[in-house]
């Protein structure tokens, strides 16, 4: 185990997989200098000459090229500097990439991972702070990963880089500097579709991903002081989704809060609530609560941004509500 930053855990995962797989190729804007804008490719161009390339600012071209490379024997990793720029390449992602394995009746494989950086927290405004995991998860054929810790980032990225499907790997800009214990073994991976029970509890289940996980844990501490025992679960991957673990927890607690940074309407939180009421309706003691940003673009003002993003207090308040307090 070593205490390392989320950004470095990502870098290490890429380095280990590039060592293992000579056909792994990595491209994205500015990645070949100084580790890129967020430090996730530090020293990679030196170790893997010719396999880590900075692209022109041409998202449609390099996201599509990633697909073309993937279906011709290259395992491709593409970095989107901000998730917001994937919108310039939506045809390449949705029409050209996500559907191909299905449309080809399984004959074409698409070993392609797209790392995207998303989320609030730096006052970047409406075109640089979006969360698109719900959008991606709504497209059949894309796997969607949202790591919340350095260890998860490493273990899940290594799994992505061995997967033969398109994977959208959603990193959070506020997590890059967070440190955590990460296993050193090059064999360390975390399978997709296995939720992580971050804290056990008996009164209410809080489901959270990415940047919201720490806030959910903070909410659980607040609740503990009031004698409320909260269980915090991080699904880690949204596609595939470990409904079994989520449902088992809610069956136990009878109450559920979903915390997400994405806007509420048509989001994965709504989808999880739907699945839960289908599976555990008889066990529910209160309506499922959801805490999210408002159904608006992210405002620039730090005051409004802070107001918009769910806090531990808001998550705790929603939990109390499920307990009728």
């Amino acid at each position: 185990m070593a205490l390392i930053k989320y950004s470095i855990a990502i870098r290490d995962a890429i380095a280990e997989e590039m060592r293992r797989d000579p056909k792994l190729f990595f491209m994205g804007e500015d990645i070949a200098k100084f580790g890129g804008v967020f430090g996730c490719s530090l020293n990679l161009p030196e170790e893997f000459p010719g396999r880590v390339l900075s692209t022109p600012i041409s998202e449609a071209a390099f996201v599509g090229a990633g697909m073309g490379a993937a279906i011709t024997g290259t395992h491709t990793l593409v970095e989107l500097q901000y998730v917001d720029f994937i919108l310039c390449a939506m045809d390449q992602l949705i029409n050209q990439t996500a559907k191909t394995h299905y449309m080809s009746n399984g004959t074409v494989k698409v070993p392609y991972t797209l790392r995207v950086q998303q989320g609030c927290g730096r006052g970047n405004g409406a075109q640089h702070a979006q969360c698109f995991e719900s959008l991606f998860a709504g497209i059949p054929g894309l796997k969607v990963v949202c790591p919340s810790t350095p260890a998860d980032a490493k273990g899940l990225l290594k799994t992505a880089l061995r997967d033969e499907n398109p994977v959208v790997f959603c990193e959070h800009k506020m997590l890059y500097a967070v440190r955590g214990e990460v296993p050193d073994s090059p064999d360390f991976t975390i399978p997709f579709g296995v939720a992580d029970i971050r804290r056990e509890g008996t009164d209410v289940t809080i489901i959270a991903t990415s940047y919201m996980v720490q806030r959910a844990l903070d909410a659980a501490s607040l609740l503990e002081a009031e004698g409320i025992s909260a269980e915090v679960i991080d699904p880690r991957t949204i596609v595939p989704l470990d409904m079994e673990t989520l449902a088992a927890s809610v069956r136990k607690t009878g109450r559920c809060v979903i915390a997400q940074e994405a806007q509420p309407f048509c989001s994965f939180g709504g989808e999880i609530a739907y699945e839960l009421q289908q599976q555990v309706f008889r066990y529910l003691d209160a309506p499922i609560e959801r805490v999210s940003t408002a159904q608006v673009p992210m405002p620039y003002s730090r005051k409004l941004e802070t107001l918009n993003v769910p806090t531990a207090d808001r998550i705790a308040a929603a939990a109390r509500k499920t307990l009728w307090r």
């Binding site: 804007e29 500015d30 200098k33 100084f34 804008v37 900075s54 692209t55 022109p56 600012i57 041409s58 998202e59 449609a60 071209a61 917001d84 720029f85 919108l87 310039c88 730096r122 006052g123 970047n124 405004g125 409406a126 075109q127 640089h128 408002a294 159904q295 608006v296 673009p297 405002p299 620039y300 003002s301 730090r302 005051k303 409004l304 107001l307 918009n308």
Partner: protein, 321 residues
């Protein structure tokens, strides 16, 4: 440009310069946050275009749009307040430096998306020419990095086939974050791509106001005559890092010598020298301009500081008209 216009141009460029230098300082103090991309060193390109605009002409801007916004005549108080995220900002604090809109001064938005303005400029051209049947024009500013976006190519072709009155101004500062133009562009001069769209293209020294004037004159006349778009590539340099905390911009991805060499080619110094040589103003008069500009910047900071944050209710307002 007559002497009076040249003096006005000088003052406007100096205002943009000092405004952004102040914003940079305030960013480092943590009062301005988020994304801030400075136009310092590139001011002549926007300033001359703004001066040559006529009533009803429009323009689209970029992520590096604070300079354009100051230069277009937008009240500096409103811009500074926007950078502070205050309720009195030009976008009510909800936009930030990359999302400022000032239709009264022709600004169709600074833009967080590289290349994002190019298709908007075509649309403005549709309104001006095909719908309103005027001879008004649209300036579309973009970086050389943005010239590699798909939407830029599509927009240039669209503007060409419909003869839209768009003047594409590529502000080629040699860099796109850490990446160099040589690493990312297929040609040394972006202007040669104009031939591929069948439109006039020209390379111009972007730090020379008089040369810019000539190039713009041609393109404006061409567009007003209904003959369609042009592509002007203005060679320039960004003095600052890509963002205020960019530690690699001086001695990292570019040499200190290179930065200093370009600083010596300052467009404002050049214009000041010309003014003195031609006797359009005295040194004392230029000093008076400098003091006036500084006061204006200080006033904008005081205004921003004294302004309130947006109300909580503002979060949900203005999603729909």
């Amino acid at each position: 440009m007559n002497p009076k216009e040249i003096l006005g141009l000088y003052e406007n460029m100096l205002l943009s310069r000092r405004f952004e230098q102040k914003a940079d300082e305030l960013y480092k103090e943590g009062l301005v946050t988020g994304s801030l991309h400075l136009y310092i060193g590139e001011e002549a390109i926007g300033a001359v275009a703004m001066l040559m605009r006529e009533e009803g002409d429009l323009f689209t801007s970029t992520h590096r749009g604070v300079g354009h916004t100051v230069l277009c005549g937008c009240d500096p108080n409103l811009i500074m307040a926007e950078l502070f995220g205050k309720a009195t900002g030009i976008s009510g604090g909800k936009g930030g430096s990359m999302h400022m809109f000032d239709q009264a001064h022709g600004l169709l938005g600074t833009n967080g998306i590289v290349g994002g303005g190019t298709s908007l400029a075509c649309g403005a051209g549709i309104t001006l020419k095909l719908v309103n049947h005027t001879d008004r024009v649209v300036f579309c500013f973009l970086g050389e990095g943005a010239s590699n976006e798909g939407v830029t190519h599509e927009s240039m072709n669209l503007a060409a086939v419909w003869k839209l009155p768009v003047i594409f101004v590529v502000e080629n500062n040699g860099y796109e974050v850490f990446t160099t133009a040589q690493e990312s562009c297929s040609v040394e001069d972006i202007a040669v791509r104009a031939a591929g769209y069948g439109i006039p293209g020209a390379v111009v020294d972007g730090n020379d106001a008089l040369k810019l004037e000539k190039a713009y004159r041609k393109a404006i006349d061409h567009a007003r005559r209904g003959e369609g778009p042009s592509l002007i590539e203005a060679k320039t340099y960004r003095w600052s890092g890509h963002w205020p905390g960019d530690a690699y911009s001086y001695g990292g991805y570019r040499s200190k010598e290179e930065v200093d060499e370009w600083k010596a080619r300052c467009p404002i110094l050049r214009l000041g020298k010309l003014i003195l040589e031609k006797g359009y103003a005295t040194g004392e008069e230029l000093d008076a301009i400098s003091r006036r500009v500084d006061r204006r910047v200080e006033e904008s900071v005081a205004f921003a500081m004294a302004s309130p944050d947006p109300d909580d209710g503002g979060l949900l307002q203005n999603l729909f008209a």
